[in-house]
């Protein structure tokens, strides 16, 4: 049973008006794994997340979740299956309170979510506690500052009770102390049984958050392997910094 990977992508391709956002991307994410996804700006990382979460349809290729094809499922059904994501440009529900924001996830998440409002609120409260947002529970979401917005984004995704969590650059704009904080939280999430795909630019975080790393460049898979191997790989360094002059 645990031989079937949680997520399998085969030759996923998405083009925007001739531009290859992602081109024949294939990889596997195993249960309980933390898979890092890195690549320079414009590599196609967020597009890949959009395709996995269902926000964007792929032009070609196949996507499997727990062995079953999900290519034609709309985003909400993928959420029901257990795929949750955060948005790089955060999307809170502005005029709902922080608690209500998270409760929405509990109400409509895994397997259709809870049908009892009270239960959903309880679960939301627990998540606010977990992400350190309890003191803001009754504030309107659009009044939150940057780091708190990230916490909210995370809490909302967790409320879906995801089996697979797609984290899209959650570390952006955080200082080192905050980064370590979030790394700790993400590890706790993994320990609780959620598999995670982490997209990151912040190298400090990627090292500690990845069992394996895949690298995208110009929409194509550049490399795949252990963190140390990848981060020392010439091609990867070149992709970020440009060709080394001899």
């Amino acid at each position: 049973m645990s031989d079937i990977p949680l997520l399998e992508a085969r030759a996923l391709t998405k083009r925007f008006r001739g531009l290859h956002a992602i081109e024949r991307v294939s990889f596997v994410l195993r249960r309980g794994e933390m898979l890092g996804l890195i690549g320079p700006n414009g590599a196609g990382k967020t597009t890949l997340v959009n395709v996995i979460s269902g926000t964007l349809p792929a032009d070609s290729g196949k996507l499997f979740f727990e062995g079953a094809p999900i290519d034609h499922l709309p985003p909400y059904e993928r959420a029901h299956l257990g795929i949750g994501r955060t948005f790089q440009v955060m999307k809170p529900f502005p005029r709902l309170t922080v608690l209500e924001n998270v409760a929405v996830g509990a109400l409509f998440g895994y397997h259709g979510g809870e049908h009892d409002l009270k239960v959903a609120r309880e679960q939301a409260r627990a998540l606010l506690d977990f992400t350190g947002l309890m003191h803001r529970a009754d504030q309107q979401a659009d009044q939150l500052g940057g780091p708190d917005r990230k916490r909210l984004e995370l809490a909302k995704a967790l409320a879906l009770k995801p089996k697979l969590l797609l984290l899209d650059e959650v570390m952006a704009g955080l200082n080192p102390a905050e980064i370590d904080d979030v790394v700790g939280v993400v590890k706790k999430i993994r320990d609780a049984g959620t598999s995670i795909l982490v997209i990151e630019h912040v190298m400090r975080a990627i090292r500690s958050l990845s069992d394996r790393i895949i690298v995208l460049h110009h929409g194509e898979m550049l490399a795949e392997g252990e963190p140390n191997a990848i981060l020392g790989d010439e091609r990867v360094i070149e992709a970020y910094l440009g060709k080394r002059r001899a």
């Binding site: 959420a79 005029r95 409509f108 895994y110």
Partner: protein
């Protein structure tokens, strides 16, 4: 507890109005109550789900004509007539809702307006609908009965909105309003909920139309599919407070009164004033009266300026 008591008192007071015997008051009452229902019905789709419809007059008109045709041409009783009108409106909501609800913002608003204009023109040319001449319904003198029926309808609509505000269904609508893309990835089947909201909206709007048709006993395409109705119900809901339970009621009662009072005096100055009121209201109380009341309590007159500061360029 106190709230429930106040509410009950208000309902009793409203229900008791016909006992006063003032013809004009009862007629104003029926108008106001029906408009309040229209505003409340609009509120479900516009206030809670964030889909601003400028085409609810379609459903109103279908309610009017469904009832009129059933009663005038087929000689069915009032209740059945209402059911026919409601069925037509709900059918229209589901049929056109699916494609039109894929649009957002201005485009949705305009598409609904287009729909209602098209429907109006079509109905004006159907035989059983009496074409442009209209239909006449059986006469009945029970103004008070219409009043109570309108009140009952309003209570039903408001109770529905109150339920929405506190239910899982409502949570989905609010999520769609606040951020539809985020709602999608959070597991909400937005299409299903939008259509449900539209259907509820259509239902109450149509019944209001049916009651109005029987009350004035004459229907014609211009009056039934009156496009200005759309703006009026939107303004009433917005003026009172979209997305709240009692806001639209407040807006409808107050603006109906303003309309009537002004219309009985110099009609041009009246309309002018009305337009001015709208402009000022949007500037100073863009969230409606309900929000104004709360805001005033919190920060006094500064509330008015806060809005400008928050929304200016």
């Amino acid at each position: 507890m106190l709230r429930a008591a106040i509410l009950a008192l208000c309902v009793l007071a409203l229900a008791g109005v016909p006992l006063l015997g003032d013809e004009v008051l009862i007629q104003y009452g029926i108008d106001a109550l029906l408009f309040a229902t229209l505003a409340q019905a609009w509120n479900i789709l516009g206030g809670f789900t964030g889909y601003v419809s400028f085409g609810n007059s379609s459903f109103y008109g279908l309610g009017v004509y469904g009832t009129a045709i059933a009663m005038a041409q087929l000689h069915w009783p009032f209740g059945v007539g209402l059911a026919v009108g409601a069925a037509l409106a709900v059918g229209c909501a589901v049929l056109f809702g699916i494609p039109i609800l894929r649009l957002r913002g201005h485009y949705f608003a305009i598409a609904t307006l287009g729909l209602s204009a098209t429907l109006a023109a079509i109905i004006a040319n159907i035989d059983i609908a009496g074409k442009n001449i209209g239909l006449i319904l059986p006469l009945t003198r029970a103004d008070a009965a219409f009043y109570e029926e309108a009140l009952l309808l309003l209570i039903a609509a408001t109770a529905t909105v109150a339920w929405i505000a506190k239910s899982r269904f409502g949570a989905a609508l609010l999520a769609i309003r606040e951020d539809e893309d985020a709602a999608l990835v959070m597991g909400i089947n937005t299409t299903r909920y939008k259509i449900a909201a539209l259907t509820l909206s259509a239902f109450f709007t149509a019944i209001a139309g049916g009651i109005h048709a029987y009350w004035i006993t004459f229907v014609d395409p211009g009056g039934a599919f009156d496009l200005t109705l759309n703006v009026r119900m939107v303004i009433m809901a917005m003026f009172g407070g979209p997305g709240t339970v009692f806001g639209p009621l407040l807006g409808a009662f107050i603006l109906s009164a303003v309309y009537d009072v002004l219309a009985s005096s110099i009609s041009t100055a009246a309309a002018l004033l009305f337009g001015l009121v709208i402009v000022l209201a949007v500037i100073f109380m863009p969230r409606g009266l309900w929000d104004l009341a709360g805001g005033f309590r919190r920060s006094g007159a500064r509330y008015l300026l806060q809005n400008i500061r928050a929304h200016r360029l």
